[in-house]
């Protein structure tokens, strides 16, 4: 059996003592394109943050490329595109500079950029279609273009495994299509991709497998689902877009914890 880039067994995550993810099993095979879907607060972003080590597991076992997370140091093999409003910060930075910072996974301290580094940065910019904007400030770009800069930054490290956290959120259609083209190039190069998305849009054709999160558990894991899953495939009978507003708490990210009454209500459906 080939080495799985991601293998999570019985993973659980708590935020501030509140259990958010419970009993999550996820194994991603090499070259797979997995879409992690689910409503706001279903735990899909928490799961991807746990998979890259930003959120500690409270229990369970996570292995990246067959190495336990605590002993995993080959971060150059992993590319991460965090969920962010944009690529800008308090000081101007050029597109090239932000993308070049993705090369850090392969650079040693106090060494200047080599020819291989520059080639990788140029290639990353070309894949996302921003090669002609390299010298521009990132704050000059549209939101969708900034999102592509963040993807190019992850690409510059030439990783084998990509995690993208909602790259399509709030992005115009033209940039979504550019994003789909960039991801299809990655996929054709054999990269393993785990993508968190609320809606797939133009990315739907690329997806090999859908994992749907619901209230911090995996509710569905199998063949790709469209944005509007057909009823019957899901345990709750379909639409996965929206949080169950009846049980919504004040917390946006933390899924509601069921009381006994809630539970009966769930079963009674």
């Amino acid at each position: 059996m080939p080495v799985a880039p991601v293998h999570l067994e019985d993973g659980a995550v708590a935020i501030g003592g509140r259990p958010v993810l419970r009993h999550v099993d996820l194994r991603v095979e090499p070259g797979e394109f997995v879409a992690l879907m689910g409503a706001n607060g279903s735990g899909k972003s928490t799961l991807v943050r746990a998979l890259v080590g930003l959120r500690p597991l409270t229990s369970g076992r996570l292995r990246l490329f067959d190495t336990d997370l605590e002993r995993f140091h080959a971060w150059a093999r992993v590319g991460y595109v965090p969920q962010r409003g944009g690529a800008a910060s308090g000081v101007p930075a050029s597109v090239w500079e932000v993308v070049a910072s993705g090369r850090l996974t392969r650079r040693r301290l106090l060494r200047p950029l080599g020819a291989a580094d520059r080639a990788a940065i140029r290639d990353a910019l070309e894949v996302v279609g921003l090669a002609d904007r390299a010298g521009d400030g990132v704050s000059q770009l549209s939101g969708g273009q900034q999102q592509r800069v963040l993807i190019a930054r992850a690409l510059a490290g030439e990783p084998e495994l990509f995690f993208l956290d909602e790259p399509t959120a709030g992005v115009d259609l033209a940039s979504q299509e550019a994003l789909a083209r960039a991801l299809s190039v990655l996929k054709s190069r054999g990269a393993t991709i785990v993508l968190v998305a609320h809606e797939l849009g133009p990315l739907a054709d690329l997806v090999d497998r859908s994992v749907v999160m619901r209230h911090g558990r995996v509710a569905y894991d199998g063949a790709p689902l469209g944005d509007h899953a057909s009823p019957g495939l899901l345990p709750d009978g379909g639409h996965v877009h929206h949080v169950d507003h009846l049980h919504r708490t004040r917390h946006d990210v933390v899924p509601p914890v069921f009381g006994p009454l809630d539970h009966r209500h769930q079963e009674g459906r």
Partner: protein
């Protein structure tokens, strides 16, 4: 007094050396602090360092070293509070600032020193700096500059996006504390030049001025260091030449000169940003049909026609009285 005579005075030479080194070091670390949107962090460290100076006065040791020590402790404390990310983090920081300032004034009194003793540290006294202090200033400032430039790829990545940097395998906490310590060291270094209450200005104002005109991080960092150098040396010279007529303190002169630079460049930056915003490419789809033709259009659009040209897909739209005119053959389409 001629320029040559003034510059040949030993105290003036010491002051110039201190000004050159602090002028370069403070904006270097300031760039990373502004990048992380923590522009007031230097102020906080400066307030905490007051206690350090007072402890030096009380114990009879060099206030520079006690200020470095207390500022480093304060900076690490600020970083820890910030990292915990409590919603009332800024309140916790404020408590630390006031504690540092009040503690400093109280301890100075206990040490039997007058407020005037503390004042030279609060507002700077670059012309009374001793040879030993100049040496310490030069060494510490050089360390700050070397670390800020040498580790710039790492420091840039961490300040730009902490989560990405963590997943890239960088020890984000170590780099954050490193920036805090560098800031504390530059506060202690610039203490003699512009004083603890104005030290943050030398870290932040040159960066704010530089970024009015720059688009990349590297040029911002370089320009901020040059502007800091210009302001501190220029301010020192201005105050030295003016002091024959009036009592002009170097510290405030340096800060006001830096601010004058900002006031001059700000309108330019404003115009640049507005122009940039106007000419930002339209990324909506180009209409396929050409039915929406602008009627009775006699004006010929082109380079320098006075209308803003905005890239739109494979062509250019001209902004004309709230319309977007795209050249098509002999007429203009409405886009």
């Amino acid at each position: 007094m001629s320029t040559f005579e003034l510059l040949s005075l030993p105290f003036m030479q010491r002051a110039l050396l201190a000004a050159v080194f602090t002028g370069l070091a403070a904006p270097a670390v300031g760039t990373y602090i502004v990048q992380r949107r923590l522009a007031l962090m230097g102020d906080g460290i400066g307030h905490v360092a007051v206690t350090g100076v007072a402890l030096g006065l009380l114990t009879g040791t060099s206030p520079t070293w006690t200020a470095v020590a207390v500022a480093v402790v304060g900076a690490i404390l600020i970083e820890v509070i910030r990292e915990r990310g409590h919603t009332n983090g800024d309140v916790a920081l404020a408590l630390l600032f006031y504690g540092g300032l009040a503690g400093g004034v109280l301890i100075t009194g206990l040490a039997g020193q007058s407020a005037a003793g503390l004042q030279s540290y609060l507002f700077g006294s670059i012309t009374t700096i001793s040879a030993a202090d100049v040496l310490v200033t030069m060494v510490l400032a050089a360390v700050v500059v070397v670390v800020c430039l040498g580790l710039s790829p790492q420091l840039f990545a961490v300040a730009q996006d902490q989560e990405f940097a963590r997943v890239a395998g960088l020890n984000v906490r170590v780099y954050n504390i490193l920036v805090a310590v560098l800031a504390a060291v530059s506060v202690a270094v610039a203490m003699r030049t512009v004083g603890l209450l104005l030290v943050s200005a030398l870290m932040v104002v040159p960066v704010a001025t530089a970024q009015q005109l720059t688009r990349s991080f590297r040029t911002t960092l370089g320009a901020a260091m040059l502007l800091g150098l210009g302001a501190s040396v220029g301010g020192l010279l201005v105050s030295a030449f003016a002091s024959s007529r009036a009592d002009v303190a170097p510290g405030p002169t340096i800060v006001l000169l830096a601010l004058a630079g900002f006031v001059v460049t700000w309108p330019v930056g404003l115009w640049l940003r507005r122009h940039q915003h106007l000419t930002e490419p339209f990324d909506d789809e180009v209409p396929d049909d050409h039915h929406d033709v602008s009627e009775g259009h006699t004006h010929q659009h082109g380079e320098d026609c006075g209308h803003v040209a905005v890239p739109h897909g494979d062509h250019v739209d001209y902004l004309h009285d709230g319309h977007r005119h795209a050249p098509h053959g002999r007429h203009y389409d409405e886009h």
